[in-house]
């Protein structure tokens, strides 16, 4: 499937990626050729095939709903690019 510039801009917006004009052109070519590769899957009829959810058919393990982690808020907050009083700082969202 060949993508046009608008498709690429739309995908970039969904993916929250700012792209330069040059990048848009480059990705238009790259993504189109990757999709062409991927579409080789369509040559096979898979109507009666069960999708594989897990290689060894393992199911999700459950655990008791109890607190297992200790509170390390300050340690975790130290990774943030901007923070104040234990809160993440971002540009103003609501006027």
């Amino acid at each position: 499937m060949a993508l046009d510039r608008e498709d690429v801009k739309n995908i970039a917006l969904l993916a929250r990626l700012e792209l330069s004009d040059t990048e848009i052109g480059q990705y238009q070519t790259d993504l189109s050729s990757i999709l062409e590769l991927v579409e080789q899957m369509n040559a096979v009829n898979t109507d009666d095939v069960q999708p594989m959810a897990h290689p060894t058919d393992a199911v999700q393990r459950l655990r008791a709903d109890v607190v297992t982690e200790t509170n390390q808020r300050e340690k975790y907050m130290a990774c943030a690019p901007a923070q104040e009083n234990g809160l993440f700082l971002v540009p103003k969202v609501i006027d």
Partner: protein
């Protein structure tokens, strides 16, 4: 001292031939000499000298107190995809260029408990997306066999560091061939275990249903020693499987007579370089000499593995990488005008080209109206690929073929054509899609460059694969060869 294998170092420490501080210092000196200088290999992103020497001293004290294990005081390195509490963990990305994790990955913790000595964090393709190590934000890694060539990827730093004898072993991860392909290109032994064998907790996720950690070593005996400590059931990884961890070193010398080896015709296609095919077939004939039976087989859906992989891996990566948003950790752009600008510019500036390419493919494949045509279709193809393997394993014990279609290629040779780069993983991807264990061992040379023999086993057959690889290494010397100038 650097020519000692991991196993020999463990034995040397136990015998008191040298201390952990001595051997740690020796390897640190080599890293300083061969890795960081101009024209160096660049296999490390971070070298943790002080921490390593402190841990080595503690290991020597532990040994003196009589509490040493096989791993106490043994130096090694972690791929920079494993979170290390208090030590920079970049995943090869500008996005995590300042990320100091507040916790250890379970694999990291497993080594710490044994008193092993980590020398640093190895270079890698950005977020493990690449087959040449050229997508690292911290620069490419040179192949010690030929510095104009790539070491393979994404675990190219781990492979180059072990091949250059800068560390005796390193951890690595494999989503589509990222342990086996660099192992092949650097003349090493690399093993991707069964999906669920090693914990993924704290191993920065690329494609969660494919990612698996494993060892990068010089021989199968060392890989067994690594896998003993890397494997564990982990409550903190919901896909970890509660399966007993055998002592992988205990069965290395089992008799392999009578084992049946399948050669899929799809792994020896007509366009495969004849010298590559001949080298791999010669290696396989060694098993015949040891009493194994060779059988031609077919894995008819092999040609669908790359198309399915380039849906599953990008789709899962686009979801996994959505956490990198410039808010809670990692890179943030300068002066964002609003929240949307903060997200888009932090991600646009923080991610490299290949990562953005895959995030976009994945975003597209998962977007409204396309899920069935792409992700669901790919999951169905995975079933077909797995069924091929299951049918084959009714008749054979192991499957063998080349690890990669070519030896290490030149730096820059495939960077302009993403699809050409993706075809590098033609023989390794199917095992990830099926969740099977795969391994690469040195098979000989093509154009004076090492090439790998791939061994694929059934689920949980890592012991058998290490056994058969070790027996091969008892009668061949490919794994003992070192790059020129490394001695």
């Amino acid at each position: 001292m650097h020519n000692l294998t991991l196993t020999q170092i463990s034995q040397g420490l136990a015998a008191g031939d040298f201390t952990s501080v001595e051997i740690t210092q020796h390897f640190l000196d080599r890293i300083n000499k061969f890795d960081k200088e101009d024209g160096g290999i660049n296999s490390f992103i971070t070298v943790t000298d002080e921490l390593a020497l402190r841990d080595a001293k503690a290991a020597d004290e532990r040994r003196a107190a009589g509490n040493a294990t096989a791993w106490t005081g043994v130096p090694f390195a972690h791929k920079d995809i494993f979170c290390t509490d208090g030590t920079l963990t970049t995943c090869g990305s500008k996005m995590l260029g300042n990320f100091i994790p507040p916790y250890d990955a379970t694999v990291v913790d497993n080594f710490k408990k044994q008193g092993a000595v980590c020398l640093g964090k190895t270079n890698m393709d950005e977020f493990a997306m690449g087959s040449s190590n050229e997508t690292s934000y911290f620069g490419g890694v040179k192949n010690p066999w030929d510095k104009d060539r790539i070491p393979g990827g994404s675990s190219g730093g781990s492979a180059a560091a072990v091949a250059a004898r800068l560390v005796p072993a390193a951890t690595a991860t494999d989503t589509g061939g990222s342990i086996r392909q660099p192992a092949a290109m650097c003349g090493l032994t690399g093993l991707k275990p069964t999906y669920g064998r090693c914990s993924r907790f704290g191993m920065i996720a690329f494609a969660s249903s494919l990612d698996q950690a494993g060892p990068m070593t010089r021989n199968a005996e060392d890989a067994a020693m690594m896998l003993n400590v890397m494997s564990s059931f982990d409550e903190k990884d919901s896909t970890s499987i509660d399966q007993e961890v055998p002592d992988y070193t205990a069965t290395l010398n089992d008799d392999i007579k009578g084992k049946v080896i399948g050669l899929p015709k799809e792994y020896f296609p007509e366009n495969l370089d004849p010298e590559m095919a001949a080298t791999v077939r010669t290696a396989i004939s060694e098993f015949e000499k040891m009493g194994c039976t060779i059988k031609e087989i077919s894995l008819p859906n092999t040609h669908l593995s790359i198309p399915a992989y380039y849906v599953v891996a990008p789709a899962e990566c686009s979801a996994n990488l959505s956490r990198m948003d410039g808010v809670r950790f990692g890179y943030r752009c300068e002066d964002p005008s609003d929240l949307m600008d903060l997200y888009c510019r932090s991600r646009g500036e923080g991610f490299g080209q290949e990562v953005k390419r895959r995030v976009m493919i994945g975003t597209y494949a998962l977007s409204t109206g396309f899920y069935d045509a792409y992700y669901l279709k790919a999951q169905k193809i995975r079933r077909l690929i797995k069924d091929d393997f299951m049918a084959a394993f009714k008749d054979v014990d192991f499957i063998m073929g080349p690890t990669a279609p070519t030896p290490a290629f030149k730096v820059g040779e495939k960077t302009d054509d993403p699809v050409a780069m993706y075809l590098e993983d033609a023989f390794t991807i199917a095992t990830n899609l099926a969740g099977l264990p795969g391994m690469s061992i040195p098979a000989g040379k093509v154009n004076n460059l090492p090439v790998g023999l791939q061994i694929i086993g059934n689920y949980w057959q890592e012991s058998g694969m290490l056994n058969i690889a070790h027996q091969f290494q008892q009668v061949t010397d490919h794994h003992q060869q070192a790059p020129q100038g490394i001695k």
